[in-house]
């Protein structure tokens, strides 16, 4: 039926146009830009624009700031994602094990940070972590512990940012794990109980393996979110101290919109995208991957 053929295409046309213009063409554009020396001089006069092949990428490999940004971003991913997954899992299992009428309340409470603006969250946390009047250090002081300068020391600042990111993000995974936990048939637990399996045994032999695909997908979602870290360091530390919290996207933003070195910035954007595809590929091809295939 030709009528049906053409109408189907009409239904997807608006989406296709939007995706082409605002996702695919810019992706090609950012790749193209990464092969040029587009900078503030080319903005003034297009004659100053040259194709320079893979030079931006070679420079990136020898760029200490870029390696530092990569390390910073990786720290947030490598520390933050497992912490988030663990918190999502634990909170979801706790919620699923309590009386039905209390579940909604806790679910809402743990999810609220997810819908809050990252900029506003970062401002709130900057006051919590403040060395003079912040509550975190006040409580540490009451407990007789040393009160560190969270956002002022290179090692702690990235940790503080990771804490904020995890705090804001784990509620999202909690909802997903919670839904997946409901799908595990009760019979499995009944059978295990009859065979005398204890709480810990049921958790490690039934719950966690059954949730593995969900956790695998969640890991990818968290990784791709944290990999795009930007607003937290922008507001909390402006990338400092000593560049220790400058994420890849923050570096791209600064090179692109503060120094107008678009060629160099585009190479960072391409590297960021490529690594994300790598993450997705790995996730699909590991056993923990979604659907396990």
């Amino acid at each position: 039926m030709t009528r049906k053929h053409s109408s189907g295409a009409l239904f997807v046309l608006p989406a296709l146009v939007l995706l082409a213009v605002f996702v695919f063409i810019p992706l090609i554009g950012v790749f193209g830009l990464s092969l040029t020396d587009f900078d503030v001089y080319s903005v003034a006069n297009p004659a100053n624009l040259h194709l320079i092949g893979a030079d931006n990428y070679w420079h990136l490999l020898r760029d200490r700031q870029a390696w530092q940004a990569l390390e910073t971003t990786l720290v947030v991913v490598v520390v933050g994602v497992p912490a988030t997954l663990l918190l999502s899992l634990i909170s979801a299992l706790m919620i699923e094990s309590i009386a039905e009428r209390w579940r909604g309340l806790f679910r809402t409470a743990l999810f609220v940070p997810v819908v809050c603006s990252t900029v506003a969250i970062a401002i709130s946390w900057r006051y919590l972590l403040n060395t003079r009047f912040g509550l975190v250090n006040h409580v540490l002081g009451l407990l007789g512990l040393r009160a560190p300068d969270w956002l002022g020391s290179p090692h702690l600042a990235i940790l503080a940012i990771t804490i904020v990111v995890v705090w804001k993000g784990f509620g999202y995974g909690m909802i997903i794990v919670s839904a997946a936990r409901k799908e595990i048939p009760d019979e499995l637990y009944d059978a295990a109980r009859i065979e005398g399996a204890g709480v810990r045994h049921r958790l490690l032999r039934i719950t966690v393996p059954m949730l593995a695909p969900t956790l695998g997908l969640l890991a990818l979602l968290d990784v791709s979110g944290y990999w795009q870290l930007f607003a937290e360091p922008y507001v909390l530390t402006q990338g400092g101290p000593l560049g220790s919290t400058t994420s890849l996207l923050l570096l791209m933003y600064e090179r692109g919109f503060r120094w107008w070195r678009w060629g160099a910035a585009s190479a960072i954007a391409m590297a960021l995208t490529a690594v994300m595809w790598l993450f997705a590929w790995v996730q699909r091809h590991t056993r923990a991957g979604w659907r396990g295939d």
Binding site: G8, A15, G29, C116, S124, L221, A231
Partner: protein, 275 residues
């Protein structure tokens, strides 16, 4: 109930209460600071509760920092993005799931590829595009790229796959046009998922930061998070003022979430079940 089980249960409630306290406390505290006068907000011994509540911070950020204007911008952008996304994702998601047409597999694949492209990596060419057509500092610069969100399409597509094809086939045999089928049968069927996508996009659009900061260079066109970050660079020492700004940026989305929780969480869960 055995003693061990009872301890476990008590521990679970306690653990959840601690977690809920830890997630809610920073938000409640910043709201509380927003209602404090400057000396109390910056006291060496942090005050948990405003002892002499005042609206001076709220009044200041509205009158001196024009928060109302940014609120209006955010509202217009989020609402328009939501409406456009629902239209686009609704029809595309339905067609990809339930209408046969040439190129359907290719389009499905492109949508999936779209999900895997970090949109913040695209801001440089996007800025150049909007600059060329003189749409920087226009609402369109925020609405159009945000409406190209492939996640909504994927969610609707997966939802429609779960609806039996027979319902639609019956209507087709009756000779109804595709448009008529879409309007009077498909739309009501997918309304719950469309609502979920709508709320999700609304919140995402409201909170978006990097691209709105780049695209809205003119102050009067900025959205709340962008303006908040700009005010913060100048007034970060005015704790009460910034706390008021942060609270007023977050509160609308918390209320939207509380009011539409059922739909919002559905979109989160559905997102984890789709391919």
């Amino acid at each position: 109930m055995s003693l061990q089980n009872r301890t476990l249960r008590a521990g679970t409630y306690l653990g959840l209460a601690v977690l809920a306290g830890a997630t809610l406390f920073p938000l409640l505290w910043v709201t509380s600071i927003a209602l404090m006068r400057a000396p109390e907000a910056a006291a060496g011994t942090p005050s948990l509760w405003p002892h002499h509540p005042t609206l001076v911070n709220v009044i200041n950020i509205i009158s001196r920092q024009h928060l109302g204007r940014y609120f209006f911008n955010s509202m217009v952008v989020a609402a328009t993005t939501m409406a456009l996304s629902m239209l686009v994702a609704g029809s595309a998601g339905y067609a990809l799931a339930r209408v046969e047409f040439r190129g359907r597999r290719l389009v499905s694949w492109l949508v999936m590829l779209g999900v895997l492209i970090p949109n913040q990596a695209l801001v440089l060419p996007l800025f150049e595009m909007f600059r060329t057509v003189h749409l920087v500092n226009h609402y369109a610069a925020l609405v159009l790229p945000a409406a190209a969100n492939p996640v909504g399409i994927v969610l609707v597509q997966a939802y429609m796959r779960g609806i039996p094809a027979e319902i639609l086939d019956a209507a087709r045999i009756d000779g109804a046009s595709e448009w008529r089928i879409y309007r009077s049968i498909v739309m009501p069927l997918m309304a719950p998922m469309l609502a979920a996508v709508g709320v999700l996009i609304f919140v995402v659009s409201w909170n978006d930061f990097m691209w709105p900061m780049i695209a809205m260079q003119q102050e009067s066109m900025q959205t709340l998070p962008v303006a908040l970050a700009a005010i913060d660079r100048e007034h970060y020492q005015d704790i009460g003022l910034m706390a008021a700004g942060a609270t007023m940026t977050m509160l609308p989305m918390v209320l939207v979430f509380l009011a539409s929780q059922r739909y919002y969480l559905r979109s989160v869960i559905a997102g984890s079940l789709t391919d």
